[in-house]
């Protein structure tokens, strides 16, 4: 498929369209609202589902096949966070705590972006290695920790003790559900997983459509805050995913992932956290402005990756694998 067909395959998928519906509904100030409890329930369901699916798949790989991708993932998390922190400090003259807060969000990962990417790859029949969900869990934490360390040492910062913040990150619902799901899937194996597969595999795509509708509503509401954010940071919110994605695809290539795997690692690196990072940063760097990173992550970077980033990194991964055509 050519680049335009890849883009169309992505933009016309139900999840991207329902996200667009959410944005449009927020734009016209519709009274449409997904109940909070449904949102929480769906996010638990989706995280557990990708964890378990990954866990079942993981048993088919030798540990030696996973070690290098895992190391690359941790290095990506740390590297992108340090890069962002340096860039924001030097080029945009952002204060140390705010630069660290942004680095934590952008170095970490968005599980929903990962899910959208797997759906896309399924649609274009270029699946990624089954152990990629484990990398989502791995990428979530390192960037948050290094960014907190950078921010706190540069501002001789206040905030909760580091140990309490680390506990908060590791015990957060996304890590518990992802890692827990991976363990359940790996222990149960394909055979014992199959009775629950109808709920966790087949219904999953439908649930995702409702979830993306809520994401669209939130992004649309948040978009109103963008007016108060400077141009430099808006550019950062698009440039960071491009640079991170390039590094991610390259790292995937280096450790021998397939085209689907490279695409996914690129998308993971390009995505920005809006669940784990905000809570950790709020406690670890209370002086940082909490609104800016969250607004940029949800209203700029998430839609960018969802609509353009995913097919773009796929194209890049193809190019790296096959050379320009």
């Amino acid at each position: 498929m050519g680049p335009l067909e890849l883009l169309a395959a992505n933009l016309l998928s139900p999840i991207v369209l329902s996200f667009a519906l959410g944005v449009a509904a927020a734009w016209v100030r519709s009274d449409l609202k997904i109940p909070d409890d449904l949102y929480s329930a769906l996010s638990i369901y989706l995280l557990l589902a990708i964890g378990m699916k990954g866990g079942v798949e993981i048993s088919r790989f030798a540990p030696s096949q996973i070690v290098w991708p895992a190391i690359a993932t941790v290095a990506l998390g740390l590297g992108t966070a340090i890069l962002d922190f340096g860039f924001l400090r030097r080029a945009l003259r952002v204060s140390a705590v705010d630069a660290a807060a942004l680095a934590a969000h952008y170095g970490s990962v968005s599980a929903v972006t990962f899910i959208a990417c797997s759906q896309y790859l399924e649609a274009v029949t270029t699946p990624a290695e089954g152990f990629l969900p484990a990398l989502v869990a791995l990428l979530e934490v390192p960037a948050i920790l290094i960014a907190l360390v950078l921010g706190r040492s540069a501002s001789n910062g206040s905030g909760e003790p580091m140990g309490a913040v680390i506990r908060e990150v590791l015990a957060g619902r996304s890590i518990v559900l992802l890692v827990g799901g991976l363990v359940i899937g790996a222990l149960a194996g394909k055979e014992r997983f199959s009775p629950v597969a109808p709920l966790f595999v087949d219904l999953y795509r439908g649930a995702l459509v409702i979830f993306l509708l809520e994401m669209g509503l939130t992004a649309g509401r948040r978009a109103r805050e963008l007016r108060r954010i400077g141009v430099g940071l808006l550019v950062f919110a698009v440039a960071a995913p491009l640079v991170h994605g390039l590094l991610g695809v390259g790292a995937g290539r280096l450790v021998g992932l397939s085209v689907g795997g490279c695409t996914t690692l690129g998308v993971l690196a390009a995505s920005a956290s809006y669940i784990a990072a905000p809570a950790a940063v709020r406690l670890g760097l209370p002086a940082a402005n909490p609104g800016v990173p969250l607004t940029l992550a949800i209203a700029v970077t998430f839609p960018f990756n969802l609509a353009l980033g995913i097919p773009l990194f796929h194209r890049l991964a193809l190019w790296m694998a096959e050379g320009p055509r």
Binding site: S158, E214, T218, E225, P278, P286, G291
Partner: protein
């Protein structure tokens, strides 16, 4: 009925602080507290802990000394950077010994 004069401390804070404030209150002498979800807006605008986040409202009936200690601790640790308000009412309760 015989009542005892005590203080009702009410704290409304961003939900990320909920558990911490309850722990602080207990360690500073509150025998119990009531927690409820709250929504609203203040000088700090949108909440951050969840998408479109929530606040918590924590209420505790305590003696006057404990009320002072709680307010001082909140002022020192949380007022500078977090979305949080706290205030104290005079209340009259039955079974006053239950609270101190």
């Amino acid at each position: 009925m015989k009542t005892t004069p005590l203080k009702l401390v009410t704290v409304v804070a961003e939900s990320v602080l909920g558990d911490r404030i309850c722990e602080e209150m207990r360690s500073l002498g509150a025998k119990g507290f009531t927690v409820s979800e709250a929504t609203g807006e203040g000088s700090r605008g949108l909440r951050t802990s969840e998408l479109g986040g929530k606040n918590v409202r924590i209420e505790a009936v305590v003696g006057p000394d404990a009320a002072d200690r709680i307010l001082e601790r909140l002022a020192e640790r949380y007022f500078p950077h977090y979305a949080i308000i706290a205030f104290v009412h005079d209340v009259h309760v039955v079974r006053g010994d239950k609270y101190v």
